[in-house]
Amino acid sequence: MAYVLIGNSAAAIGAIEGVRSVDLDGEIILFSDEPYHTYSRPLISYYLDGKVQEEKMYYRPADFYKRNRVEAHLGSRVAALAPEKKTITLADGQTVPYDKLLLATGGKPIVPPLPGRELDGVFTFLKWDDVKALEQTLAPGMRTVVIGAGLIGLKATEALVKRGVAVTVVELANRVLSAILDEAAARLVQESMLEHGVKFYLENTVAEVLGRDGKVAGVRLRDGAEIPCERLVIAIGVFPNTDLAQGTAIKVNRGIVVDERMATTVPDIFAAGDVTEGFDTIYQQQRVLPILPNAYKQGFTAGINMAGEVRAYKGGFAMNSIGFFDLPLITAGIVRPEGEGYLSLTQADPGARKYKKVVLKDNKVVGFIALNQIDRAGILTGLMEQEVDASPFLEHLLREDFGYAYLPAAYRQEQMLKGVSGGVRA
Amino acid sequence: MLREGEIRIPSGCAISGIMNKRGRVFSGEDIIKSIALMHDRGNGLGGGFAAYGIYPEYAEHYAFHLYFDDERARTTTEEYLAAVFHVAESGQIPTRRVGAIKNAPLAWRYFVKPKPGFLGETENEDEFVVRTVMYINAEFPGAFVVSSGKNMGAFKGVGYPEEIGEYFCLDEYKGYIWTAHGRFPTNTPGWWGGAHPFTLLDWSIVHNGEISSYGANKRYLEMFGYKLALQTDTEAITYAFDLLLRRHKVPLQVAIAALAAPFWSEIERMEPAKQELTRAIRTMYGSLLLNGPFSIVLGSSKGIVALNDRLKLRPLVAASKGDVLFVASEESAIREICPEPETVWTPRGGEPVIGVLEEGGDEHAN
């Protein structure tokens, strides 16, 4: 049995561990266009600000491939698939047969067709190479514009600030982190970044990149304003990297469509991670969920199923833990409900920059924001996963000490005593 | 010095018993030889004998053996006896001069029958006699009833048993049961009444040991009107048998199960019926359990029972030859008078040796 994996991040690693949890013999062949031992994408901002050195970037120990007997082809790009022949073709023309194939090609940065985007000094912020390149050109006092106040944009911003760079953030939405925060929380986060000298242009965007002899010199905004800068980081977002699936029978919407076994519409081809469009249990629909935990679980599930066992991953939902300058922040699911039937409980202490919000629908927790008071937030995540009826303890949800003591005895004891998978039914 | 009865005196001892199951009578020489052999188990401060079948001519009368300190005691006591009994015959108990025997009391015997008028309504002759014996021992200073059974008598005093035997000329008596006792008291009251055997009616007990349960036994017996004038184990054991066998009329085996009860661990292993019975006995007669070391020979006109405490903390050997049953503290004391017994055995703790007089045994003394 030959398992061929394309990709080398959380989803692919999850797949390896999934396969090996069932099949110790099958041959695993991995292809990655990046030359690195599997590393952690979310760590690139830590790498940039120096908190994490090279040796700590790796997602698994150095002997990981060896221990799992994985034939890893690093820095070798896969050019095409031939599902009907059950082979893949590498960039160098070589073809490799597979019995089971996993597409874990992740996402690629969205780069709008900006005039001047080819100028020297324009960077994206997704891969290790991106930050390595950026890092080499940085110098204290340098001015940088970051397009996009999303997770990536702001992590990049924080890292740059820590490197002594003056950063200006341009964001189309009316607030930072619009995908995971409501206005109130966004304001607090923005405040704290302002205190660290970050400038913001909200409800605005870059119309053109200005250059001087091939190098970035500044940007002109939609409203005509000009901001001089030496570096530009484009962090508008990522898009599923579905290139290989294009032109095949594999069904693709925004991402590659997978079922709860992570199987694509083509036999023996599976997909996992940011490239997919999996089921969102909160929105109850297929969605792209570009977050690491989801990628790993999908990969792990794919691996098990590729190895012949039937295992379902009922899906996940958006969840993020992130922090900017000592301001920790955890959010999940629907944080800014639109439409009928939602109940939002909030508690704010702007002075201390604390904010908590729990969103419920039909007495079930469907989302929350925990800003600067993140301890035990996972209990809420668990309630979302387990779809627990929260009506018996609604009034306690926002308590500082909210915990199992406030949950119904039966549920509490079942969870605590059985000692098995808390919530997670992988 | 306090005498027996005013103080409790622990003592070690030698015992011996001989019985002819067919009731053939024989002289006291054997029992004297037997007990004499165990000379060293005593210390010359007490010896005595019980003999059954020695008064065939007065078999229907209660044979009272009494000791008097002086003539005054004798006359007052005799007045009382004459008042409540028909006295068929009375006289001094024959004795010999024996060097070692000093300050002996006056020893008299009376063959009597209660005068019906003095019996309580529900009282039978035995009970009347018991009451009288207790009364005399308690109320007549200087007088002491040594024995009161029918066709039997006790002979005891201060000295080695063989000396006592010779003093009372026991070689001239013939009986079908003889028991003997040589005593080693731990102090010297020098009072003849305190010597063993102890008797009541035709019960007699010779006993070796000291019973730790004495206090419990005593207070239980007292509830039934027994006055333990002597504070001796022997006395308590005698009354215990009297209570169980004569008054509560329980079978001999039951009495034995009460006095030398089997351990609960044994009882748990018994078959249900026996278990229930034994449980009941222990539950009911716990206060009569004889705890601590003892070996005893119970004599009665119907036979003897030799018994050890349940841990067998005192010696007891038995042997038989023909119609004759021997029991003694030491095997040598048996072989001394019966060199080749047919069987010799050492009864286990709590396992009785029982000799029952065969009914209508020829020459049975009445």
């Binding site: 700590k56 690491l292 969840m319 833990s321 993140i374 406030y406 005895a409 000692g419 | -």
Partner: protein, 153 residues
């Protein structure tokens, strides 16, 4: 695997488990007074006593079979030992992103900011090789270390 189970019906809520856990994981594991008085920042306990009177019980990492924290960890520092089943956080690799806190349904992972920010959690005192200290020091046997939730001692 053996886990620590709480018997809330006999938990006295004294929090001695927290005290001793903190000590065991401090710079002075053998000296409770020093652990608390010598260290600038109080050592933090990996076990947490939840209280909602009269209910109280100690809660620590359940060492889930399908441990969500290990799946969520962005650095790979959080791992479940395939042999012992113990979930541990390799603190030198941890960057304190708190994704484990986000994903632990028991809220059993704490932020240890006494030094470098890292996630702190119950390690079943694996190093000690004996009973977990919380179990050892529970004065009322309200914590049991067992394969299955055992009731009687």
């Amino acid at each position: 695997m053996k886990r620590v189970y709480a018997r809330e019906e006999v938990c006295a809520g004294c929090k001695l488990c927290e005290v001793h856990c903190a000590v065991a994981h401090s710079a002075y594991p053998q000296d409770i007074v020093k652990a608390f008085l010598r260290q600038k920042v109080k050592p933090i306990a990996r076990v947490l006593v939840e209280e909602n009177r009269p209910i109280s019980f100690a809660l620590q990492c359940r060492h889930c079979d399908e441990a969500p924290c290990t799946k969520a960890c962005i650095t790979g520092a959080m791992q479940k030992d395939p042999l012992t089943g113990v979930v541990t956080n390799e603190e030198t690799r941890c960057v304190g992103c708190w994704t484990c806190i986000l994903s632990c349904p028991f809220g059993a992972i704490k932020r240890d900011e006494t030094g470098r920010k890292v996630a702190a959690k119950c390690d079943l005192c694996s190093s000690a090789g004996t009973l977990p200290v919380c179990v050892q020091h529970c004065p009322n046997d309200a914590l049991v270390f067992a394969e299955e939730p055992g009731w009687r001692r």
